[in-house]
Symmetry: C2
Subunit: 427 residues, 2 copies
């Protein structure tokens, strides 16, 4: 029995899905307290990113050039059926996984990186600049830069740069300029280093440094999650999944995934949710999870807050632990963000999307189990979705119902094996 379902490259969907016009309420506007942040955002980011951020079109055509590049980085990705894991959970679930680890950078991040870099190129930017923590986003930016022949400056949180070098090496292979942030490459970085000589860096510092460097040198700053535009670009994966499921004759009862900033889960869920919101009839269940160590999903407040710890960007209404929340050193680096994307937050607030948070120990128990049963090593972030499957399976085993689940499987864990080894005490 086949357990992998491909979509041929010439059947890849031609549109991104924009949830904005179908949200049950109007999305609260960004708030520009300083009076400068909207202007900074508009100057720093590619023009079309700002246009797409506020678009009311339901479907936005993927530019031909991005479409072609999607094929060149591993799109469409397959859907796998996790038959061994199904058996382990009692046999009442059909589990389908939308596998973003099949992209060449190993996660969903490349889907929006290509779009941001393409639009920066349209603006005649001299380069793109961005920040990265664990490195998935930096690697995606580096590859997008390589394929568009656009220089990429990646400001990588100092401690990750030195302690978790594998994703940095991946960026090096792709030819990006990777700087340990704060860096002595920019005036702002030098200033920060002088002020805090022993700093291990932070995502906030790295964002400031990247944005300032872009503003000062005719570059464009690009951001890899949270914004409406970024989620929009990633919906190519959800559009694919919807088409794949339709071809298979399947319709998921549950759509599940993990939330760092929210772009991966939104990317899968929105194409399904959009049609349900239009009909005012939501039959599918949407459940997303985060890290219990960074419990924004279950303990965050729904209020205005800065998306960036540097407070350079406009405030947005979202579930947040506070922009100054200091996340503990969890190994799922992509889940350390303090807030949930505004679109997802609104849907959570309307009880359309349910939230969960799981501890690292529980999630990693499933990483090991899944690797041994299915052969595919999940990213630490991705494994936080697996306890939701257990919850659904337990319910089905009680009621003897059969259900179909579609999981946004955000990436593979091959470059995270060092983290697994530390957390699981491999000798």
């Amino acid at each position: 029995m086949a357990i992998r379902f491909e979509l041929p490259q010439d059947e890849m969907p031609e549109y991104w899905c924009n949830i904005l016009p179908d949200l049950p309420d109007k999305l609260p506007e960004p708030k520009d307290i300083s009076g400068k942040s909207l202007e900074i955002m508009q100057k720093a980011m590619p023009k079309m990113d700002v246009v797409n951020e506020f678009s009311n079109e339901r479907l936005i055509k993927i530019p031909d050039d991005i479409y072609e590049k999607y094929m060149h980085v591993g799109r469409p990705t397959p859907i796998l059926r996790a038959t061994n894991f199904e058996k382990y959970l009692g046999g009442n679930l059909k589990i389908y996984l939308k596998m973003e680890g099949y992209t060449y950078t190993g996660s969903h991040k490349i889907n929006s990186a290509l779009a941001h870099v393409y639009y920066a190129l349209q603006d005649n930017a001299k380069f793109v600049a961005t920040e990265t923590g664990a490195g998935q986003w930096g690697a995606a930016t580096a590859l997008a830069g390589a394929l568009y022949n656009m220089p990429a400056h990646v400001f990588m949180v100092r401690t990750s740069y030195y302690q978790k070098p594998f994703r940095k090496y991946q960026m090096d292979m792709y030819g990006a300029d990777v700087h340990p942030s704060p860096s002595d490459f920019t005036p702002l970085g030098k200033e920060l280093l002088k002020k805090f000589p022993d700093t291990s860096g932070s995502l906030g510092m790295a964002i400031s440094e990247a944005m300032q460097y872009a503003l000062d040198n005719d570059g464009k700053y690009i951001a890899g999650s949270v914004t409406n535009a970024d989620i929009l670009y990633k919906t190519v994966l959800g559009m694919e999944a919807k088409k794949q499921m339709e071809i298979m004759g399947e319709d998921p009862d549950y759509l599940i995934g993990v939330v760092g900033g929210g772009s991966n889960y939104g990317a899968l869920a929105f194409p399904f949710l959009s049609e349900e919101l239009q009909k005012h009839d939501i039959k599918r269940k949407y459940i997303a999870s985060g890290s219990l160590e960074v419990p924004k999903m279950t303990e965050g407040e729904y209020r205005y807050d800065y998306p960036d710890t540097a407070m350079m960007l406009p405030e947005m209404k979202m579930y947040t632990l506070g922009h100054d929340f200091v996340p503990p050193a969890v190994y799922a680096g992509g889940l350390r963000y303090h807030a949930v994307a505004p679109e997802l937050s609104l849907l959570m607030n309307k009880n359309i999307i349910e939230a969960r948070d799981y501890g690292q120990e529980e999630a990693f128990k499933y990483s090991v189990l899944f690797s041994r049963l299915e052969g595919y090593i999940p990213a630490p972030e991705t494994s936080h979705a697996l306890p939701i499957l257990k919850e659904i399976a337990d319910k089905c085993n009680e009621t003897h119902e059969k259900k179909t689940v579609l999981v946004s499987f955000s990436g593979h864990g091959l470059l995270d094996l060092g983290n697994y080894a530390e957390a699981l005490n491999f000798k």
Copy 2:
């Protein structure tokens, strides 16, 4: 234009291809100088491995259970067309890549690991034991063990165990018992450690330790290259590639790849070569390359030699640098083997397969170039095939001929980024 060509899972070929009956001469018999080595081999290895080693059937049916497991580790793998690299080389080549990096362990090794473990299970072995250097084979054995619920003991060359831990962590995720060889886990290991307390280990020691441990404890020893049976099991990839090319309406003028022991190149080439040998009409060009630092392909002698530095196995006639050849520390660990598989050696000796050797510096220049043009990071071993493409392209650019090339792209380089960083001086 689509650049990826899939074979649906239910169209995966059902047969392995055995080249033995179609070789231009009878393959020289193994030579049992000690009078014990054949017996040791027969006792240590799975019974069906020994049967398949000497089979004269052209096509051998893949057992249903292995066929199903192939689907569960990422088979069939796609063929990609390297359109950007084609342009770089002048536009006269069509370059098709058979992508074994799409298997879950990241290389072609899993294709035979599943078969060896399956046959060990048929023999009611208590466990399988094997050696590994760089770790691709160990990782494949670990996953095969996990999927068959068969304990796996991997004896990993001591220096790799400590210095290149990522593939070891991969084996840990799959639940294998990984021992730094020589290890204090076996009597032979303890003896070796007592004799050479500061040893960094060697593949020879690791083979001895694994084989002895299997012989003494009702396990089976499995080997991941060189033997006829091992190449046979891997031909699933070549059988797929042949079917894929036929569906695409393409026929390669050149079949190229790299040789460590020879199983990856043989696996791709044999299904194509087999039909040509049967017709006594060889029109396609077969070119394989190795490492100039381990120049067995171009400087090896065609003579009887031990396949293992431990001299436990029967001698075989092959191109060899001598079983006591000490390979330098090249980063393409999979190319450090001292000899070429007997079947390939015979075909090289008959000038049916041409040989090349390329230096690490040249190969890695192509790794970087290829990563930036195509987005896919090749394994260090795989990149040694890329200079052959340049050679063919140069010829075509002179004569204005168009040619089609099929490359055995043995794996991805994500777990080799540390080696790339060292060799290429990433900061």
